[in-house]
C-alpha cells in the first residue's frame, strides 16, 4: 500500500496501560510495548500502570514535546470511557486532538480471554493496527451546535413534578406531559408516607399547585409523546393531546356538571380508587387533581357513544360552555434541547399468583387498595373495612408478592417492606386489629427506616419470617372456621404454621410500565433485561442514558422510594441545566462529506440517510451533506456507487491500513 504522508515525517508515540490488574493481569504489557517499538514511525513505546491518571497524561504531553511526536496511540480500556481524556491530553501537548487513536484491549481482550499468551498476541495485533492507521489521521475540527433551552419532562409523578419545578425555578421553560387526566402519580393515592408518617397529600399537593402556578411550566395532561426527532440540544417532539371533551381554559373545576350528569350514581370503576368505588362518565380524578378540570370518558358517556343524551352536564355548565363534545385529538409539535423521562412503575398483578387467592377471596386485597382504604379522602372515608362492611379483627401482610421470585420478577421492589410496615401501623392505629407480617427479609436500609422497623416491632406487630405458601378458606380447627388461613413455614421457629385472619394484604411489587418497550424506542433508550430503563453508568451516570440529552428519573429506572425518586429528579434537572447553561455541544467531526467532482448526482444516497442530512444542491446537481445533522453512521459512504462520499476518521487508507495491521503476523 502506498503511504500518503501528507503531514511530513510521522513520529508516533505508543502507550499501553495495565489498568491495574484489569489488563496487566492477562496481557503482558511490557512485551506489547516492546513489540510495537519496531514498527515504522514509532518513536516512543511505553507501558504504564494507569494511563488515565494525571501522571499518565503528563507522560503523553511531555513525550510530544520532547520527542516531537505527531501521532499518539493508547491501548487501554473502552473509548467510551477515556477517548475524551486522551484526546484532551494530546491537545494539551500541542497536537490536533484527532492525531490520536485508541485501542480497546480491556473489554475486547483481557476481560474476555483467559489464555495469557494468546491475549498478548491479540493485543499486539490490535495495537499494530492502530499504529498503522494513525499515520493517515488528518487534523480535524469539532463543530459547535447550540442547545435549545427548553426541556420536556415526561410523566407527572413525584419525580416528573420535582424535575419540572427545579428547572422552572431556575428560569427554564418546561413542558410537562402526563398521560393521566391529573398529575400526582402513585404518591397521590397514599395516606401517609414512611418513614416519617407525614401526610402524603400535605407534602404533594403544594408541589402540584406549584406546577399549576408556575409560568415556566406548560402542563399537558391527558397527553402522550407520539414522536421524537433530532438529537441532543435540538429535539423536535410531537405530543398527542387526547380530547377530554372539556375546554381546559374555560373549566373552573366547580364540578356542577358531575352532579348534573344523567347518571345519578357512579357506575364505572374509579381508576384513582383502584376500582374500590364507582365514578360517572364525567368526573374529576380526585379532589386535589391538577389541573382542576373535569374529564369525560368517551367509552362511557351516552352522548359520545350514541349521541342521544339530555346533556344535563352542558346545562349545568351554562354560560361557561366548557363542555365540548366536538373536541378532537390534537397533535402539538415542540422544540426542546433536553428530555427527562419519569414514567414511573406499574404494580404486579396479584392474580398471577393464584395460591394467594386474589380475585377469589374478597378479603384478600393489595397494598395499594389498602392505601385507598386508610385515606380519609378514599372510598370508605378512611375506615378500614372488609367487603362485607365488618372491621377486621386480624390482618396479615404477605410481602414480596411477585418480587424476588425467579418465576415472576427477580428483583426486590425495595419499598414494599417499608410501606407494608407503614400500613401495618396504620391498621393497628385505625382498628386495633392483630397484625402479622410475613416476610422473607426485612429490607429497611434507608435513613430512618431501620428505626421504623423497630417501632413496628414495639407497636406489637407480629413478624413471621417465611414465604407464604398459600391462602385458603378451609378450616382444620374451629378457630379457623370462616377465616382466611395463611400457611407458611416460620423459618425462625422451624415449624409450618397456619394462621387464621380476617383480611390479607398482598404487598405487590413494582414492575416496568406495560408500554416501557415502546417508550424506550421512542426516546432511543435501552432497557435492562428486566425492562427498567437503563442508566448510562450504574454508579457514575445514574440518571443519564446512552442518548445524549435524554435523562431518566424515579421508578422508571428501577424501584425506589420517594426520597430517592426526588434525588434522581433533581439530578436529572441539574444534568439538563448543565447542558443548557453551557449553551452548545461539541460535535464529533466523524461526519460524511461529498467529494463534489466525483459525485454524479444519482441521488441514491438521499433516501438512505436515516437523519435526512443529505440534499441535492439545486444548482450543482450534486449531493451535499449537512454536517450538523450527520451522525456518522456511514450508510451513504458504503452505498455511493461512485465512491464520492467519504467520512472523516474512516477514510479508506485509515481502514485498509488498520486491516493490514491486524492481519500481519509479526
Amino acid at each position: 500500500m502506498k503511504t500518503n504522508l501528507t503531514n511530513g515525517d510521522i513520529r508516533i508515540g505508543f502507550y499501553i496501560c495495565h489498568c491495574g490488574h484489569n489488563i496487566g493481569g492477562v496481557v503482558d504489557c511490557t512485551a506489547v510495548a516492546h513489540e510495537i517499538t519496531g514498527l515504522p514511525g514509532v518513536v516512543v513505546s511505553r507501558d504504564y500502570k494507569y494511563m488515565c491518571s494525571d501522571p499518565g497524561q503528563e507522560l503523553i504531553r511531555n513525550d510530544i514535546r520532547e520527542h516531537a511526536l505527531n501521532r499518539i496511540v493508547v491501548a487501554s480500556c473502552s473509548p467510551l470511557l477515556h477517548e475524551h481524556t486522551f484526546r484532551n491530553a494530546v491537545e494539551a501537548g500541542g497536537l490536533n486532538r484527532y492525531f490520536f487513536q485508541m485501542v480497546n484491549i480491556r473489554e475486547h481482550d483481557s476481560w474476555v480471554h483467559t489464555d495469557h499468551a494468546k491475549a498478548t498476541t491479540k493485543a499486539v495485533a490490535l495495537a499494530r493496527a492502530a499504529v498503522l492507521r494513525v499515520r493517515f489521521h488528518r487534523a480535524l475540527e469539532t463543530t459547535r451546535v447550540a442547545i435549545h433551552p427548553d426541556v420536556l419532562v415526561v410523566g407527572g409523578g413525584i419525580s416528573g413534578i420535582h424535575a419540572a419545578l427545579t428547572l422552572a425555578n431556575a428560569g427554564k421553560k418546561v413542558y410537562l406531559v402526563e398521560r393521566d387526566p391529573s398529575i400526582g402519580g402513585h404518591m397521590a393515592k397514599f395516606d401517609k408516607t414512611f418513614p416519617t408518617l407525614d401526610c402524603a397529600a400535605c407534602i404533594l399537593t403544594p408541589k402540584m399547585s406549584a406546577v399549576r402556578a408556575n409560568k415556566n411550566i406548560k402542563l399537558w395532561t391527558y397527553s402522550e409523546v407520539a414522536k421524537v426527532d433530532g438529537y441532543v440540544g435540538n429535539y423536535t417532539v410531537t405530543v398527542r393531546r387526547k380530547p377530554r371533551y372539556v375546554n381546559e381554559e374555560l373549566c373552573i373545576g366547580c364540578q356542577e356538571c358531575i352532579e348534573a350528569c344523567v347518571f345519578k350514581e357512579g357506575k364505572y370503576p374509579d381508576e384513582f380508587n383502584v376500582g374500590l368505588s364507582k365514578r360517572k362518565p364525567i368526573y374529576i380524578p380526585f379532589p386535589q387533581a391538577v389541573p382542576q378540570v373535569v374529564v369525560i370518558d368517551p367509552e362511557r358517556c351516552l352522548q359520545l357513544k350514541s349521541g342521544r343524551c339530555k346533556k344535563t352536564c352542558v346545562e349545568a355548565c351554562a354560560d361557561r360552555q366548557a363542555i365540548d363534545f366536538t373536541q378532537k385529538e390534537e397533535m402539538a409539535e415542540i422544540k426542546v434541547g433536553n428530555i427527562i423521562v419519569a414514567t414511573g412503575f406499574k404494580l404486579f398483578d396479584a392474580k398471577r399468583i393464584p395460591q394467594y387467592g386474589y380475585g377469589l377471596y374478597p378479603n384478600v386485597v393489595t397494598s395499594i387498595e389498602l392505601e385507598r382504604l386508610v385515606t380519609s379522602s378514599g372510598p370508605t372515608g378512611g375506615e378500614i373495612i372488609m367487603r362485607d362492611g365488618r372491621t377486621p379483627q386480624s390482618v396479615a401482610f404477605v410481602l414480596c408478592v411477585g418480587s424476588r421470585d425467579f418465576r415472576t420478577n427477580r428483583w426486590c421492589s425495595r419499598t414494599c417492606c417499608m410501606h407494608s410496615m407503614k400500613l401495618a401501623q396504620l391498621v393497628r392505629e385505625h382498628t386495633g386489629a392483630d397484625v402479622t407480617v410475613f416476610y422473607l427479609d426485612i429490607r429497611a436500609p434507608g435513613k430512618g427506616c431501620e428505626e421504623f422497623y423497630d417501632k413496628s416491632l414495639k407497636d406489637g406487630i407480629q413478624f413471621v419470617r417465611g414465604r407464604v405458601a398459600e391462602v385458603t378458606d378451609w378450616a382444620l380447627t374451629p378457630e379457623e372456621e370462616g377465616k382466611l388461613v395463611i400457611r407458611a413455614e416460620d423459618t425462625l421457629a422451624g415449624v409450618v404454621r397456619r394462621i387464621p385472619v380476617d383480611m390479607i394484604v398482598l404487598a405487590v411489587g413494582m414492575e416496568p410500565q406495560a408500554d416501557s418497550q415502546a417508550v424506550r424506542r421512542l426516546f432511543n433508550m435501552s432497557c435492562g433485561s428486566e425492562g427498567w430503563f437503563l442508566e448510562k453508568h450504574p454508579k457514575l451516570a445514574p440518571v443519564s442514558t446512552f442518548t445524549d440529552g435524554v435523562f431518566i428519573a424515579g421508578c422508571c429506572q428501577g424501584p425506589k422510594d420517594i426520597p430517592d425518586s426526588i434525588a434522581q429528579a433533581g439530578a436529572a434537572a441539574a444534568e439538563a441545566m448543565a447542558l443548557i447553561d453551557r449553551g452548545y455541544i461539541e460535535q464529533e467531526p466523524n461526519t460524511a462529506y461529498v467529494v463534489e467532482e466525483d459525485c454524479s448526482g444519482c441521488k441514491s444516497c438521499l433516501p438512505l440517510c436515516p437523519y435526512t442530512a443529505i440534499t441535492l444542491d439545486g444548482t450543482t446537481q450534486k449531493a451535499t451533506i449537512n454536517a450538523a445533522l450527520c451522525k456518522g453512521c456511514g450508510t451513504c459512504v458504503a452505498a455511493c456507487p461512485s465512491g464520492s462520499i467519504r467520512q472523516h476518521l474512516f477514510e479508506d487508507d485509515e481502514i485498509f491500513s488498520e486491516i493490514e495491521g491486524v492481519l500481519t503476523h509479526a
Binding site: P354, T472, W474, L476
Partner: protein, 290 residues
C-alpha cells in the same frame, strides 16, 4: 382416531374400574386405544427412590414399545404413569449420561426410542382431540343437578403439565359441565391426596385425604371426580379410619370416565361403579321437560 395405550399396573388391579369405564367411553367416541404389547410397570414414585437410571430404563422400555406401534401419541390414564413417562422423556433429553445408559439397555434388548412420541392423558385427548362438541352430542342422560367436585391431584398437572394450568386446571371442569353436571368450585383441586403415604404413614397421609373429602362435602358436592387411580383409592377406601379419627365424610369418589359413561347412557354395570367402597347414589331425577 387411534392411540397407543399404556394402562399401567393400577388399572389392572385396584383401579380396574378406571379401565372398565375408559374403554367403552372411548369406543363410544370412536377413539381406538391399542394396548401396548407386553408393557411393564412404569416404576412409579417408588422405583425412582431407589435408582434413577434403572427407573428411566424401565420407563423407556415402554416408550420404545409404544414407538414401535407407529402411533402418533401414547395415552396413559394413570397420573403416576403419565408423570414417570413424561419425566423420563425429559431426562433422556436433558441428561446425556442417562441417555447413554438407557440407549445401551435398549440396544441390548433390540429396542429403539427416538424420544419424539408425546405421552398424553385421556383428559387431554378428550378435550383437545375429540372436542367438547363431539362429547356433548353423545350425552343422552345429562348429569343435570349432580354437583361434582373436580379433583385433579398432582402428577398430571405438575410439573410437566402442558395441556392445562398447574394451579387452576380447568379441562375436567369444562368436560363435566359439558356432561350437564354442576361443577362445584373446588380450590383444592390440585392438592396432594397423600399418595402412597396413606399406606405407609397413615397419620400423615390420611390427614390430606380427609381435608379433600371434608372440603368437597362442605362445598356441597355430591361426588368427587378424579383422574387418577391412586387418588380414587385414597379418597374411597379409607372411610373407616377417617370416620374413626375425625368423623364421617360420606362422599363417593369416582373416575371422570365413569361419569361420562353415565351421561352417555352406558349401563351402570359396565362402568365398574360397584367397585366403590362409598357407592354413588342414583343420579338426580331430570327436571320434567316443559
Amino acid at each position: 382416531m387411534k392411540y397407543a395405550y399404556f394402562p399401567g399396573c393400577s388399572l389392572k388391579g385396584l383401579g380396574r374400574a378406571y379401565e372398565e369405564s375408559l374403554l367403552p367411553v372411548m369406543e363410544k367416541l370412536g377413539v381406538e386405544l391399542v394396548e401396548l404389547n407386553d408393557w411393564n410397570c412404569c416404576g412409579a414414585t417408588a422405583y425412582m427412590s431407589v435408582d434413577e437410571t434403572k427407573a428411566c430404563i424401565l420407563a423407556a422400555r415402554n416408550l420404545a414399545i409404544a414407538e414401535k406401534t407407529g402411533s402418533r401419541d401414547l395415552v396413559t390414564p394413570c397420573s403416576a404413569c403419565y408423570l414417570v413417562l413424561n419425566k423420563t422423556k425429559h431426562y433422556l433429553k436433558d441428561s446425556p449420561e442417562i441417555r447413554g445408559s438407557v440407549q445401551r439397555a435398549l440396544e441390548g434388548a433390540g429396542l429403539r426410542y427416538s424420544g419424539e412420541m408425546p405421552v398424553r392423558h385421556p383428559l387431554d385427548i378428550l378435550v383437545h382431540d375429540v372436542g367438547l362438541d363431539v362429547i356433548r352430542e353423545k350425552v343422552v342422560r345429562p348429569l343435570t343437578g349432580l354437583k361434582v367436585a373436580p379433583y385433579y391431584g398432582c402428577q398430571v398437572v405438575r410439573p410437566y403439565a402442558t395441556f392445562d394450568d398447574a394451579w387452576n386446571p380447568t379441562t375436567m371442569d369444562r368436560l363435566l359441565a359439558t356432561l350437564g353436571a354442576e361443577v362445584v368450585p373446588y380450590p383444592l383441586k390440585t392438592k396432594c391426596c397423600g399418595g402412597s403415604l396413606t399406606g405407609t404413614l397413615p397419620d400423615t397421609g390420611l390427614r390430606l385425604t380427609y381435608i379433600l373429602l371434608k372440603e368437597a362435602v362442605r362445598r356441597g358436592a355430591d361426588v368427587i371426580a378424579t383422574i387418577c387411580p391412586l387418588c380414587q383409592f385414597n379418597l374411597d377406601a379409607y372411610h373407616d379410619q377417617l370416620t374413626r379419627q375425625w368423623g364421617p365424610v360420606p362422599i363417593p369418589t369416582v373416575y371422570f370416565t365413569q361419569l361420562m359413561g353415565l351421561a352417555f347412557g352406558l349401563p351402570e354395570s359396565q362402568l365398574g361403579l360397584r367397585r366403590n367402597f362409598v357407592r354413588m347414589k342414583p343420579l338426580p331425577a331430570l327436571p320434567a321437560r316443559a
